[in-house]
Symmetry: C2
């Protein structure tokens, strides 16, 4: 405490140029420390090993909440607490699918979030297969009456989320199938891989059963359909759905030394889908942001502003970002910037900063630290800070977008393959270094992103 | 028929050197044709799409048998028939495994062939985890009493089957676990991949339940065990076992024009494990060898000797090779050479010929055709012609070993990932070209591998 006080007094007495130089030097030193620090890996390993799958509303999520509190306390965070809210919970039951004619074969599927369950004995019907979503959308009302609609449109691998954005339209089109009379909907997985593990995820409530097909099974159905005989599928999807189930955002802070009321909000999401262990989605995001805050806390003195790590509790099924924004509405003016790490564990290849901030000394210090890590500091301002900070953004909070390379992410995302072994510790450490540099440069400066944005109008 | 007769007369009238030149030229022409022919792909696509999984003793195998007969007839083979025998059949029922303490998580497993079923409600016990098989083997009798033995020894990727040979020892060690008192046995999958799909396969009857763990699950258990608390697993494996179930070898021939009684026996195995669609194991082998025979049948005249394609019906669970040898014991002296294609669909990188035959003009013609396809024509003689020709080999039949590159094979083998999309049509065609060149060079010459072997003593 005495050391921190002395250092604070020393910092206050520095001229602005010297302060900037100090900020830059410390940012570089933190970056280097982050590149060899194992906190992010340890946190990710711990969550995936000791908790594993943790869908919203499941016993796994309760364990994850307790894990989060214990982990933040053990790492020395302050004001560790749980913010409770309510949101939807869809939980998978027994599932199966098979072609019954003309070529009996089992299929590998995963029910989609918000799917209606089938009757206990399942349903059986002929399929109507479309190779693109647009083909299905071109069907008139009633055209799919009594059929199981199947869309096999594949996903393109891209570095950003462009490929996923297109694939997610396919996953979410159950309602369009229902409108045309379909009694169930099967979508090719939003996957860039060729394994026989389906990739699930959220759908929209459409009143019909909906599931994702593994990539090889989607291609198998295409080959069967091409032979011209009617293809019949038997499908059984059991699930439970609650409109309102208890949910949790877990929070910890590193209090600022000068302006503790000014807060930088970072984090990842604690919940996951159930097929894998939620390693890249999103134990890694939890690990990266927790490690960044922890590294900064290890400096001889705290930065000026408070760093708050939030483990959002219902990103996959939705609601944790909105709940967080609602609970912190009165505090928003003091939230300096917010950002979520939620696109896996690949390297950060681009940083989009809040509008107009690129030439500020604090952001110059950030750039100097991360350009050698092959980060492109974009001229485009950040527009998407992550699903869980959208609510804050809508209330006027500046956001930052530290874009991860998603080239491999959708090989794993929402599938049983989302496991720890897929994470490269070196790539994970690069993430920590970039987040640490950004958070520190903001936390120990007076940069005001609302002002930089206004000035840039 | 008239054309064939005229050509035969013409061939008989050629001097030996001219005959050899003709053989070499036709071998080259066949090779080139094979490289663009789609028969192997079409056959492989057909079997995996229209039949899919086909374990010995299952309805899928019955469909595969009927498919084989129809396919050989459609492709113009002669003497198409089924040779029936009896062998073991182990069929999977419902299976599940989960860690119940200290960190509840579901595990991905596949019961191993010949596993004893658990009671209907499953069994629950503490695990004893070993990172190498030798560690488990070093345990004294009784040391594993009441425990579920787990061996997590990983598999090395190799071009040949060296990596698999070591991994298969781990898969087959259930009896060693039982001897030491274990009540069940879990082995890390014999897999070179990191997907969460377990790789099954045959075990030995050990009187205890036995299953393969997916690679990520084996590593998860290692991490849990390293934390020091007892790890408890609940395991349920249902299955049915018959000592004797009907089994089928499906056969078709291209009759030789001069010495139809002299036979070249080639083929793949028709049965598969049940998790995938048996694409690389072994629809590809069926496709490659059927295509080779079919291409040769398309020449203006038949070769001198008969080419026989056998689709062996119980390679995975054992018995089809032995049954074939037993049924053809009296014919063995007339079987010129035998070989099976059963290591996937990767390129052939090495050809091991029957002993002493490398300098024979027929084998020179073969080498001239395949060296440009990057095939190493080995100085080592063939020792392993494939599991289904071991029985013939034991009766004195020369064998050939056209070694496929197995570098990617064990990413897929015996797992749900064994699907058509994993096959590269160009690599498959290289296989067909090499088999076609070998089979034709033998079938249209008078090479006698028993004589070359004696001369080489």
């Amino acid at each position: 405490m005495r050391n921190a006080l002395l250092a604070a007094v020393a910092a206050l007495s520095l001229a602005p140029a010297a302060q900037a130089a100090d900020l830059a030097a410390t940012t570089l030193a933190l970056r280097d420390k982050a590149l060899t620090d194992t906190t992010a890996w340890d946190v990710t390993e711990s969550l995936t090993t000791e908790v594993g799958a943790r869908p919203q509303g499941s016993p796994g999520m309760d364990r994850a909440r307790d894990w989060g509190v214990a982990k933040l306390k053990a790492l020395g965070f302050e004001n560790v607490h749980v913010e409770t809210f309510e949101t939807e919970s869809w939980l998978r039951g027994a599932e199966s699918a098979e072609v019954v004619a003309p070529y009996p074969q089992k299929l590998q599927i995963l029910g989609l979030g918000r799917s209606t369950p089938t009757p206990a004995g399942g349903i059986e019907a002929e399929i109507a297969l479309f190779r693109t979503l647009d083909e299905m959308l071109a069907q008139p009302p009633g055209a799919l009456k009594g059929k199981i609609a199947v869309v096999t449109q594949p996903m393109r691998r891209t570095q950003d989320i462009g490929g996923y954005a297109a694939a997610v339209r396919v996953r979410g089109a159950g309602g369009e199938a229902a409108k045309r009379g379909a009694i169930a909907y099967l979508a090719r997985s939003a996957s860039t891989d060729d394994t026989r593990l389906p990739h699930g995820g959220g759908g929209f409530r459409a009143g019909i059963p909906m599931a994702a097909l593994s990539t090889p099974d989607a291609e198998l159905l295409e080959r069967m359909a091409a032979r011209g005989k009617p293809v019949r599928i038997k499908l059984s999807l059991q699930s439970t759905f609650r409109e309102k189930a208890p949910a949790y955002n877990v929070v910890g802070e590193i209090k600022g030394r000068e302006k503790p009321e000014e807060v930088i909000v970072i984090g990842g999401h604690l919940d996951s889908w159930d097929a894998g262990t939620g390693a890249v989605d999103d134990a890694a995001g939890i690990g990266v942001t927790t490690a960044a805050a922890k590294l900064i806390a290890g400096l001889p003195q705290r930065p000026r502003r408070t760093i708050r790590v939030v483990m959002w509790g219902a990103e996959e099924q939705g609601g944790s970002g909105a709940a967080y924004a609602a609970a912190h509405r009165d505090e928003v003016a003091n939230i300096v910037v917010a950002g979520e790490s939620d696109l896996g564990a690949g390297e950060i290849f681009s940083a989009k900063l809040p509008k107009g901030s690129r030439e500020h000394p604090a952001m110059k210090a950030f750039a100097a630290a991360v350009v050698p890590l092959k980060v492109l500091v974009s001229r485009e301002p950040a527009e998407d800070g992550g699903a869980d900070v959208d609510g804050l953004k809508d209330l006027g909070t500046p956001v930052v977008q530290l874009q991860q390379d998603a080239g491999r992410y959708f090989d794993l995302h929402h599938s049983a393959d989302d496991t720890l072994d897929k994470i490269d510790p070196r790539e994970l450490a690069q993430n920590v270094a970039v987040w640490t540099a950004f958070v520190y440069a903001v936390a120990d400066s007076d940069i005001d992103f609302r002002k930089t944005a206004s000035a840039a109008q």
